[in-house]
């Protein structure tokens, strides 16, 4: 499903778009998505030509630093950007319907029912004045014309399914009476209450205890197989998606840096930025030989994205490209088996660097 011709193309021009093949038939098909925010300081290009596909029952991990455009992408799929604040172009095909340019009311009706979202901080993401049950009941009754009693029963069922003990009494508790992990379970129950086909989890475990993180991820995986939904997990932590994701999209400065199956990313990552992410991930399954290898520098301004490869100011291997890094933007290209990267490094250089310099240190 990653063998899409269109991803090779330099996105953006009308000519390119005209040359795109017809829709792939993937459940979620995002093509050349651009989300720009005009501000007084200039246009913030939060997402700038992003394409990916996702099928039912599959999980996509979107990984990147803060400000790489991960959350902005998910919010545009959900149609949650303020009208007028964001300029969105490209296509977001959900089950054959293009969400970009669809009326706000039509997108609203899809929200919660066809696509749902779990947020980072379950405490601030739930209304403090309404009981957990009420918030689930509300979510269910928006899309189902049922009595409060029926919806309440459904809410109790959902709380039971996400593993909240004694759901019959806890349904009337307020968010502040739940522990962090329980709150996130309740958020998941709320998101899944209408049986959505697409579930977006935006950093679902970041605000949680380490011990609870694994439980929540297990829960998401179990529920996914039960509901057969498509899941997008957004995170800055490769560890989170290591076990869960089928495919991984590494984002940098609003674009894809590397897009491949999870196996490929973890066994033979190709982009220096992905190397950096792997190198800065603490691992307990290996002996500690060296310090973590942080990526030097900070993410670029999305108003003035560096010319050429947006990663080049932080890339240790840019000089191997004889100046191309500073002038030419690397295009996302397939290097075999659907493994796609946006990098000027030649295959030989990448292989040499990976085997000689990077892999031994990981």
């Amino acid at each position: 499903m990653t063998e899409q011709e269109d991803i090779y193309l330099e996105p953006g021009s009308a000519l390119d778009r005209a040359a795109e093949p017809p829709a792939s038939g993937a459940f979620l098909d995002v093509r050349d998505l651009r989300v720009h925010f005009p501000t007084d300081d200039g246009v913030v290009k939060s997402v700038d030509g992003l394409s990916f596909q996702l099928d039912r029952g599959k999980t996509l991990g979107i990984v990147g630093e803060s400000g790489s455009g991960k959350s902005v992408t998910s919010l545009s799929i959900m149609g949650l950007h303020k009208a007028g604040a964001a300029e969105i172009s490209g296509e977001i095909m959900l089950n054959g319907t293009n969400l970009v340019g669809l009326g706000r009311e039509s997108v609203r009706k899809l929200r919660g029912k066809d696509m749902a979202m779990i947020f980072q901080d379950p405490l601030s993401s739930m209304h403090p004045y309404y009981s957990v049950g009420n918030q689930i009941i509300e979510a269910y009754r928006i899309h189902h014309d049922v009595s409060k009693q029926v919806a309440r029963k459904h809410a109790i069922d959902m709380l039971d399914r996400v593993g909240i003990p004694n759901p019959k009494s806890r349904v009337d508790d307020y968010p502040h009476q739940f522990s962090g992990g329980m709150r996130q379970r309740a958020m998941i129950a709320m998101a899944l209450s209408c049986d959505p086909e697409l579930l977006i989890a935006d950093e679902p475990t970041t605000a949680l205890d380490v011990t609870v993180q694994a439980q929540i991820l297990d829960l998401i995986r179990d529920l996914q197989s039960e509901f057969n939904s498509a899941v997008i997990i957004i995170t800055h932590d490769l560890g989170v998606v290591a076990e869960l994701a089928d495919d991984i999209l590494v984002m940098y400065a609003g674009r894809a840096a590397e897009y491949a199956s999870a196996d490929q990313i973890f066994t033979e990552p190709q982009h220096p930025y992905a190397w950096g992410l792997l190198g800065s991930m603490p691992r307990l399954d290996r002996e500690r030989t060296e310090r973590l290898l942080p990526i030097p520098g900070t993410p670029p301004s999305l108003i003035n994205v560096p010319d050429g490869c947006p990663f080049h100011p932080r890339c240790a291997y840019g000089e191997l490209n004889e100046g191309k890094s500073e002038t030419e933007r690397p295009v996302l290209r397939d290097i075999g088996d659907g493994h796609q990267i946006a990098c000027h490094l030649t295959a030989e250089n990448r292989l040499r660097l990976w085997t000689d310099e990077i892999k031994p240190k990981l």
């Binding site: 609203r108 929200r111 993401s125 209304h127 307020y174």
Partner: protein, 337 residues
């Protein structure tokens, strides 16, 4: 929850006693510190022809020569059990709760206040409804259409509303609507009776609007600020992500949170007004508690001033108590902590 209510009630009663003590000390001790003797105080209650001996006798009879704690003890006893006041010619009984007895007009203070309470109550309640509805609605719309012509216009008018005193807007309204257009009576009030509530409403409509304008302006600004903040909250995003209609998002999730701080201020404002809207009542010649206070001050009738102050304090404490209890209803986090 029951414990919470009981705790608040006990605190309210204690606070009330503290307030009476402070007010009492201010009214009866401060003049003495300022050089006035008990005889000077008593001289206000005896005729101009009275000599020093007579004045001194009066001071003794009125209890001004007793130590302050005895005077306060008598006052508190009057509050709880009623008191008898010797006017010289007869002994007047002031039943509990006795807020004091005016020797100038030779009557107990509380019945006066109760007579005037309906006017103040009508004024405050009507204005409160207007300013809550008007202020909150304006604030919400301004917040949702931030930066629009409506927002700028409404906030400009609100600024004017906050800055212009009642005796300006009130007199302006009177001159236009009562004297020129003759739509409303030029002051005074009609009692509310079932046969003709319109007369009552017509006599109060200008004071209501004038008073409400002042408060609505403030509430519009507060609501706007609160809504702007609340609509940025994560739970608003969640509500939208559920597919909730924007109107429900704004009212059920946004306004519900933004109104909570407004509730506190509303309780205080309403309590304060029930103790007498001095400027409004004076401007529109409304015989309410505020006007009573002005007359009492002008006549240096201390028991009356003390009574008004105390009844005002009672209303503020009561309003705060109700707000505290409502808070527990509104915010579940208060209930459990």
């Amino acid at each position: 929850m029951i414990v919470y209510i009981i705790r608040r009630l006990i605190a309210a009663v204690l606070l009330l006693f503290v307030v009476t003590a402070v007010v009492f000390v201010i009214f009866f001790e401060v003049p003495r510190l300022g050089g006035q003797t008990a005889d000077d105080l008593a001289s206000r209650y005896v005729g101009k022809t009275a000599g020093p001996e007579q004045t001194h006798l009066a001071a003794e009879r009125l209890g001004f020569t007793d130590p302050l704690y005895e005077q306060y003890g008598r006052f508190v006893k009057g509050l709880v059990a009623g008191a008898d006041y010797d006017t010289g010619t007869s002994v007047e009984h002031c039943p509990a709760p006795c807020l004091g007895y005016s020797f100038k007009t030779q009557n107990a203070v509380l019945p006066d206040l109760l007579d005037r309470l309906p006017v103040t109550l009508s004024l405050a309640a009507g204005a409160a409804v207007l300013w809550l509805l008007g202020g909150v609605a304006t604030g919400v719309l301004s917040a949702l259409k931030r930066g629009s012509v409506f927002d700028r216009g409404a906030m400009g008018i609100a600024l004017a509303g906050v800055s212009l005193p009642i005796f300006f807007t009130g007199l302006l309204a009177l001159s236009i609507f009562s004297y020129n257009l003759k739509w409303t009576p030029p002051g005074g009030t009609n009692p509310l009776d079932q046969d003709n509530p319109w007369d009552w409403a017509a006599s109060l409509i200008l004071p209501w609007i004038t008073l409400a304008f002042l408060y609505a302006a403030q509430y519009a600004r507060l609501t706007r600020a609160g809504m702007l903040e609340t609509m940025q909250e994560d739970f608003i995003r969640t509500a939208r992500a559920k597919g909730l209609r924007e109107r429900s998002v704004v009212i059920k999730h946004g306004l519900r949170s933004a109104l909570t701080p407004i509730l506190t201020i509303f309780g205080l404002d309403l309590g304060l007004l029930l103790g007498g809207a001095i400027l409004t009542e004076t401007t529109f010649s409304l015989p309410g508690i505020g006007q009573y206070a002005v007359i009492a001050l002008r006549n240096q009738d201390l028991p009356k001033v003390l009574g008004v102050t105390l009844i005002g304090a009672v209303f503020i404490i009561l309003a705060n108590l109700i707000v505290d209890l409502l808070y527990a209803v509104v915010d579940p986090r208060v209930r459990t902590s």
